[in-house]
Structure formats: structure tokens, C-alpha cells
Symmetry: C2
């Protein structure tokens, strides 16, 4: 794998993959083009061609991209060929929403377990999962060899929980806690804070 590909390019690949899946679901066509993808995504076709060219030749001048083939290739590049088990930490309203979210299906991830430290929540059924006590977290994550986790807990407990997850073997962490997390090299963190996203937009209003 090329290692000098800008992170911003990597960040667009999942968006291409999602749109290809949508095209396949619409079922009207077997091929697409950088122009069509660009039009649907509000991205220039040149950008799409350039992004994809980092990874090889996926299309042919004149005939474009075969949707099924490009989907497969992007899935491979993003290491989604087999499903990743995901641990959710926090069984509050957000944990609830994540446990019931059907958007993970067929996109490479499966919520495998959900934890909370509140005895009132432990044992509760959420979708097909049962909330586990966070004291069992290390044991379960190690046993299931879980590498991906989602934090749905308050900010003041996010860093210590991150440390515990990383020590248990987690390598990629999506955090909904509105706080910057410190992780060792080799561990990926991504953040989702609605206020940060809203503030970025109000600048333009």
C-alpha cells in the first residue's frame, strides 16, 4: 500500500464508496463516470480521477468505471472485505441510537458489544445487544479481538476510557465526547461533535 497518500484523499474514498453503493442500489446502470460521481457528490471529476489514480487504473477512457468492480476495489483499499466488530462505550441516548442504527449494515461494521458503568443500564436490551458492565470491557475486547470502538460518554471520562480501550487493543476510535483525546502513535481517532460542525457553518451566515 502506498503510504504517502494524503489523509484528505483517504477521507474521500468512503464517500465515493457510499455513492457507488447507492448507484448499485438504484440498479439502473452497470458503469459510472467521474463526471457522474462528481455531479452527484458536488466534487470535481478531475479530483475524483486524481484521487483514484493513487491506487491504480480503475476506469477506461470512454467507458468509465464498472460500479461493481470499483466498489470491490475501494472496499479492499479501506479494508472492509471482512466485517469489523465494534465496541460501543456508553448506553445513554446516543449509545441507544448507535445500537439501533441500521446504517452500519453491509458497510463493514457490526456493533458487537455495548458497555456502561451504570448498574441501572447494565443488562438492558438494546437492539440485539445486552448492555455489559464496563468492568468486563478489557476481558471482552481482548477475547473478541476488537480493534474499533465508539465513545458515547461524557467528556470528563473520555480520556481514561480511551486509555483503557487502547490498552485492551483498540486501534481506531470514533469519539462523540467533545474533547481532544491523546492516543499513542498507531491509534486512529476521529471526532464527532455537532457543535463544532454547527459553529463552522455559522461563520458563513
Amino acid at each position: 500500500m502506498a503510504t504517502d497518500i494524503p489523509d484528505i484523499v483517504i477521507g474521500r474514498l468512503p464517500i465515493y464508496l457510499r455513492e457507488l453503493t447507492r448507484l448499485a442500489e438504484e440498479g439502473k446502470q452497470k458503469t459510472t463516470s467521474s463526471h457522474e460521481l462528481g455531479h452527484r457528490l458536488g466534487i470535481s471529476s478531475a479530483q475524483i480521477r486524481k484521487d483514484l489514480s493513487h491506487f491504480g487504473e480503475f476506469g477506461k477512457q470512454g467507458t468509465g468505471y464498472h460500479i461493481g468492480y470499483l466498489t470491490e476495489q475501494l472496499s479492499d483499499i479501506l479494508r472492509l472485505s471482512s466485517e469489523w466488530d465494534v465496541a460501543v462505550v456508553g448506553a445513554g441516548f446516543l449509545g441507544h441510537a448507535l445500537a439501533h442504527y441500521n446504517g452500519f449494515l453491509d458497510r463493514g461494521f457490526r456493533i458487537a458489544c455495548i458497555f456502561d458503568n451504570d448498574p441501572q443500564k447494565v443488562g438492558e436490551k438494546m437492539g440485539e445487544l445486552i448492555v455489559q458492565p464496563d468492568t468486563d470491557l478489557e476481558k471482552i475486547i481482548k477475547h473478541k479481538q476488537i480493534k474499533v470502538a465508539i465513545l458515547a460518554i461524557p467528556p470528563h471520562v473520555a480520556q481514561p476510557m480511551t486509555d483503557r480501550l487502547v490498552n485492551a487493543g483498540v486501534k481506531a476510535l470514533l469519539s462523540y465526547a467533545p474533547i481532544h483525546l491523546t492516543v499513542p502513535e498507531g491509534v486512529q481517532v476521529s471526532y464527532s461533535d455537532p457543535v463544532i460542525q454547527l459553529q463552522r457553518m455559522t461563520y458563513y451566515l
Copy 2:
């Protein structure tokens, strides 16, 4: 306001603001530096100084930034001096989580109303709000002059709902629906799709 400031710079300002607020809450100090902020955020101090220099001179060589003053300035730049009313569309698990999220408090936003098209959900109490029928959406958004909305609805209804919101006057939209939305010029859209964020990380695993 300078209009040629890269969007990526604008995107970092909310993160600086959040960290300044956190520093103020810790209450240990009245000033900070680009070095301290950078260390806490995993961003280089040169980057922080360069980002802020787009908007003026906020610090002094040797004494750094006054936390209270810089907080105020960034709030002004991001137009957060008065609170924005926010409409949430979708009262499912995610709408529930948003309505109960206390992370909006004191950060420039207030959930003012929540809508759903499901008669079973309309009338339900969520935090301090009552779920309203989506048929009243245009009337309420126009009456309250709401400019900011959050979409917490399934992808297949996201574009028509976006059109309705924009027609009613919404100018900034945060969407949790996993689909690209088309909006007229002058309307901001931001997306939150956990799978896109997870896929971007698994590339590196």
C-alpha cells in the same frame, strides 16, 4: 470579514474555542499560548498562530493569549455572540439523543423545536420539548426565523426534507443521513456519518 480564508482554517476555530473554554473551566490561569494550545490539541503552535493571524493580533510575544479575550473574539468571528435556535427533524433514537444532549449549552445553540412525521411520536415530550408534526415545520421555522437545522431522518427522505427546510429559510444544515444533499448556493451543509469516519480509519489498520 475577510472572505479568502480557507475553510479548513475556519474549521479549526471551533476547536480552539472549545479548548479555550475548557482552559477557562479549569480555572488555573488567565492566559495561554499557542504552544500550550497546540500541545493540548495535537496541532503545531505555528499552525495555531497562522490560523489566528488571519483575523488580527490576539496575543503578545511573551505573554501569550488572554483566554477570556480570545474566547470572546473567536465567538464573535464564529457569530456565536447570540444563541442560534436550532430545529431538529426526526424524533427517533438520534433525535432523542440530540434533544437530551447538554453539550449545546453555552456554545451558541439551543434546540428550539423537534419534528416528526410519525403520529405516534408527535406530542411526545423530549427533554423540554414536545415533538411537533412535520406538517407545521414551515410555519414554525418561518415564525421563529430559524436558520439552523439538524437532520436525523433516514436517507431516502433527507433530500425532500432539505428542500423544505431551505425553502422555509434554513441556511445551515447538519445532516446525520448517510447521503449527499444538494442545496442552493449560500446554504451550508455539514455531514455526520459514523461509517464514513470509521472507514477512513480502517484504511490505516
